[in-house]
Symmetry: C2
Subunit: 281 residues, 2 copies
């Protein structure tokens, strides 16, 4: 008989981002279990590791099933402390560092993300510049800088354009603008003049009308804007416009912002890619 | 003798986010090797897997050292195709799924992030709402909604407030506002009235004056705003203000946006945590 609740400790010597994505990817394979996550970040000293281990051990004594422990700890001493805490333990470095060392014929640095310190100034600046670019070129407020854009998202209101642009900027340093398509543009079956010059940069977002209605209703309940008939009409017209003007587009109905952003990276052939800042674990 | 350049294939059946953070965390331990990353996302069918494997095999024949392959593929059939490509292969599911299955006494679903489809509407909406909140409450443009804020970042211009707020919103659904501290506020050694009421939500950002000068110079070269003396003065005054008003603060000089955001989550005791959207790998 399976245990239907488990405490999961996420122990990282740094941001915890890798620990989170690594554990969530694996645990999403096990339905019907309620996982209660406890985040432990910047565990980068023996005293912090001992404190974390004590907390894990205490949870193990209180609970029926032993806790799961996912960790990304560069320092082998810290790993040993966590390993001895009695949880079911899975650590990226413990698993892969030795085989990689063998393959690459090189000693690892054993230095955690947090402490190697020096930031790649150029990359950091590029991402911040990209964020500023998307803020300045959000929602069609300005179209003057479209020649600098890597991509321009188009779609009716509330299809996910703004968060997707910000995600592309923050993670991939992509200069992403966005422009809201109106009913009039659609009826004319032609792109607004500001967009025509940048046809090759355009990427459309569309969404299921029922979902759009729910999203818009949270914003402006009982308005014409949020009515199902209006949502249906705008979506249908926008898709006709995309087809007529041969703009590639994506249905975002069941997609997260991460999925929309990475699918666009994939399909548009944009070459910019994540170079995560130092702290990877 | 070590090989000083390696091609690294990142193969995912979904967004590639886990594959990226997992491989970067490990490979950042090996200095002096130039890693050339090739991203392969949404490899979710046999035909795409075969295509990916062929590309990996071709790279292996061309290059002196065999390529590294990091993958997060839920489907065992797809994994077998990639495993046979001749690269040095590291896959999260291959490594951990069996031990987790044993520990949890449950069959994994073997369904990739991309295809389980249904989005947790509440969480999705919460993150988008948080992004909208930070856009509306950026740079002190409005202080009316501070009672809804989870956190309010304060600091002089260009200390990383805006990207940090957006990161907190996009990843953790945190309602983060930010307010620029001016020289006059600092000289008075008191907080602007709009902030005083929300003292417990304030978190300060500071930065090394030399780095601030470089950042500001990219924006407005040769201005008083970007002069080293002005940067030094503002930073010193801001830190005095933080100390006088007992606002916790963080030096962002050598930190990435991810590090700033997660350190704030850690120190402020904010309870909101990432619940990644379906696509984890």
């Amino acid at each position: 008989m399976a245990n239907l609740a488990r405490t999961v400790f996420l122990v990282s010597d740094s941001t915890g981002i890798t620990t989170e994505s690594f554990s969530h990817s694996l645990l999403s394979q096990f339905a019907h279990i309620e996982f209660n996550f406890v985040h432990m970040r910047y565990v980068d000293s023996m005293s912090k590791a001992r404190e974390a281990a004590a907390q894990i051990a205490a949870a193990g004594k209180e609970q029926e099933a032993r806790p799961l422990v996912f960790s990304t700890l560069v320092d082998a001493e810290l790993r040993r402390v966590i390993a001895a805490s009695g949880g079911a333990w899975y650590d990226l470095f413990e698993t892969y560092l030795a085989p990689l060392q063998q393959e690459l014929q090189m000693e690892p640095r054993h230095v955690s993300g947090r402490t190697h310190g020096v930031i790649d100034d150029r990359f950091y600046t590029a991402r911040i510049d990209a964020v500023n670019f998307s803020l300045q070129n959000d929602d069609g407020v300005s179209t003057r800088h479209y020649s600098e854009a890597d991509i321009i998202l188009v779609g009716v209101s509330r299809t996910g354009k703004t968060p997707t642009c910000l995600y592309l900027a923050l993670h991939y340093g992509v200069y992403a603008a966005n422009f809201p398509i109106t009913e009039d543009d659609c009826l004319a079956l032609r792109l607004p003049a500001a967009l025509q010059r940048h046809r090759e940069k355009l990427f459309g977002l569309t969404i299921d009308a029922e979902r759009l209605q729910r999203i818009r209703s949270q914003r402006r309940a009982d308005s014409r804007y949020a009515s199902l008939s209006q949502c249906r009409r705008e979506i249908q017209l926008a898709e006709e416009l995309f087809a007529a003007t041969r703009i590639p587009y994506l249905d975002t109905t069941t997609m997260s912002v991460e999925e929309i952003a990475t699918t666009i990276l994939n399909r548009s052939g944009l070459r910019k890619e994540a170079r995560p800042a130092p702290a990877g674990s």
